[in-house]
Symmetry: C2
Subunit: 133 residues, 2 copies
């Protein structure tokens, strides 16, 4: 697979505004984009940290994937996203290689990107996203 690099590192947080303040204060982060994503049950923000990018997600309700993650593990690192040229090709290749891809086909994610997720059982406990540039 032709991975360009790490698109973002996602953090699950309890309070989005407090978490933004933390990364602005300590690392000079800058808000790039913010949105409510109803179908995933989160408020999300992209923060630029130099040329890097963090995604902060906070649940709209405890009974959502990120809400359950927080209840189970507490706030912290949630997933890592790899940027690829073609998410459809990446999904096909991951499936051929035996990875457990959570979506049958790429879907539209935060920022309008095409995305798909790979189950942690395929990646040594790490939830990964592939995201189109």
């Amino acid at each position: 697979m032709d991975v360009r690099g790490v698109h973002h590192v996602a953090l699950a947080v309890e309070d989005l505004d407090q978490a933004i303040d933390t990364y602005v204060r300590f690392f000079g982060a800058e808000v790039e984009e913010r949105a409510r994503i109803e179908e995933q049950g989160v408020d999300a923000v992209y923060l630029r940290v130099g040329e890097g990018r963090l995604e902060l997600v906070s649940p709209l309700d405890p009974d959502t994937p990120v809400g359950r993650f927080l209840a189970r593990r507490g706030p912290g690192m949630h997933h890592v996203a790899f940027e690829v040229d073609d998410v459809g090709e990446a999904v096909a290749m991951l499936n051929r290689s035996g990875a457990n891809v959570l979506e049958p086909a790429p879907r539209r994610g935060f920022g309008g990107h095409q995305v798909a997720f790979v189950h942690p059982e395929s990646l040594r406990g790490v939830l990964a996203e592939v995201v189109g540039g």
Copy 2:
């Protein structure tokens, strides 16, 4: 602070070689550097994934920080490292801003870089590293 970007995303793994194989197979990762770091009690490898970088760490003994992390949480994302121009300046600035920096001064880390770590209690549950370029 002048952060250049994300230097690496670190994953705690049980078996280093099996984990390397996983990221080579699914994401075309390439081994950049590998070393035993006795003072941290880990075998470590840097993997390039496009322009991004993963660090895989596996404990030399259960009674090490990474060994205890695995026992408590299982394999998965361990920390995120931000690249800065001057780690000494970054540590001074983090201390002035009230962050809990784990080292009193930068120390030599994997790959010969100057590094320091910030406690997760300061960063919404995320262990972060600042690393010199």
